[in-house]
Amino acid sequence: MTEPSRQPALRGALAELERTAPMPADLPDRVLDGAASRPPGHRSRWRRLAPLAAAVVVLVAAAAAAVISSSRPNPAPGVPDGTAPTPWQTFVNQSMRFSLRYPIFWRASPARFQSEFVAGIVFLSTEHVPTPCHTSHDRRSVACVIAPVRLDDGDVYILWAASSVLPKPRETALDRASGRPTTIDGHRAKVDVTGPAQRRWCQQSDGARIVEVSIAQGMHELIQMDACLAGSPQQLAALTQIVLRSARSVRLGS
């Protein structure tokens, strides 16, 4: 049996969190407006818009790395040898109407997590890694705990996920994404290649490069990729090309 008085620090911290929760100042007004405009028996306008209005980009979550106990003699299995074409295979998530192609040397693990704003699609890596997602004992929740590990030279670790973004006037979700504008599968997109400092988990995984791809899906939703790459400058250049080729193979609605 636990008594409340035994956890004063916890209680104090909870009270502090409750007191300082970042409530929008106009929330009471919006509640009253929503109540006043709600026809009996119907969902309010706000309610219909809630899935979008409440959404915010939180993605980025994290992908991380995996301990690579590679049995392959090639220390960089994701990197082509420069002559032979890379064989590709296809990953399909039918419920999200998402597909993409990736090198046959990579492994794909469905990313079975979902929060209010982010839904995982797939983890890709150069070697098989145990899924970071685990189902609770009562099978009612799935937690994806992703901890940085170590990437070896030539390794990549990628998370594809769908995210929703809080709408703002005259701004789309893609406006908030960083990178160079481009088009993927007919959708507006952005591509950004940066150093590992942009993602702490990648830096801690001995990653040397981050590749981010954001594909607009409607005004307020994005399909996003975070890739962490490790290796020499030559390997990074080759891996970046492969990662981008894979990203450009994305098909939405197929």
Partner: protein, 173 residues
């Protein structure tokens, strides 16, 4: 049960006076400001639609808070999960979380590690001092299950607190 309340005559005043604390509850449950906003707005709009009944409750704010918790749990049925990035897996529990320096941020992060029902039980018990039977009622389970939920939640929080303290100690070295 049916005590008359000042709020009964003025739902507007109730909203203006209590949205802040209800938002705090929702924020603790969801861990996200936008989700909390949605949760509170949905709950309050629904409660205002039946204000004749809500306003007569012994404590309208407790009534609405219960509705917030209900709506939170109902909206998250089914397999869902969160992405939680951790830097170190906790492995050494201690006896009392209070023995560890608990900060606002660390508690928020640790709450995010808990399953929904455990998080709700912790918030209702330790922040609002709800007895087991009330927590059991709102969670739809037996009192023994509440104690079990809280026990498991505290164990997880202790473990996470230790990990956080160790990381902090390492950072200071």
């Amino acid at each position: 049960m049916a005590g008359q309340n000042a709020e009964q005559a003025s739902p507007d005043a109730f909203v203006r006076e209590h949205t802040r604390t209800l938002f705090g509850t929702a924020y603790l449950l969801t861990g996200d400001a936008h989700a909390a906003e949605e949760l509170v707005q949905d709950t309050l709009v629904a409660c205002l639609a039946k204000w004749d009944r809500v306003g007569r409750a012994q404590s309208p704010v407790a009534y609405v808070r219960r509705s917030v918790v209900h709506r939170f749990l109902d909206g998250r049925k089914g397999p869902r999960g969160r992405v939680v990035a951790v830097e170190q897996v906790p492995d050494q529990p201690v006896d009392d979380i209070a023995e560890i320096a608990v900060t606002r941020d660390s508690v928020q992060r640790m709450l995010g590690l808990l399953p929904d029902r455990q998080r709700a039980a912790i918030v209702l018990r330790y922040l609002y001092d709800w007895p087991d039977d009330e927590v059991a009622h709102v969670l739809g389970c037996r009192q023994a299950s509440v104690r079990s939920l809280i026990s498991r939640a505290l164990a997880s929080l202790r473990a996470a607190a230790v990990a956080g303290a160790e990381l902090e100690a390492e950072a200071q070295q």
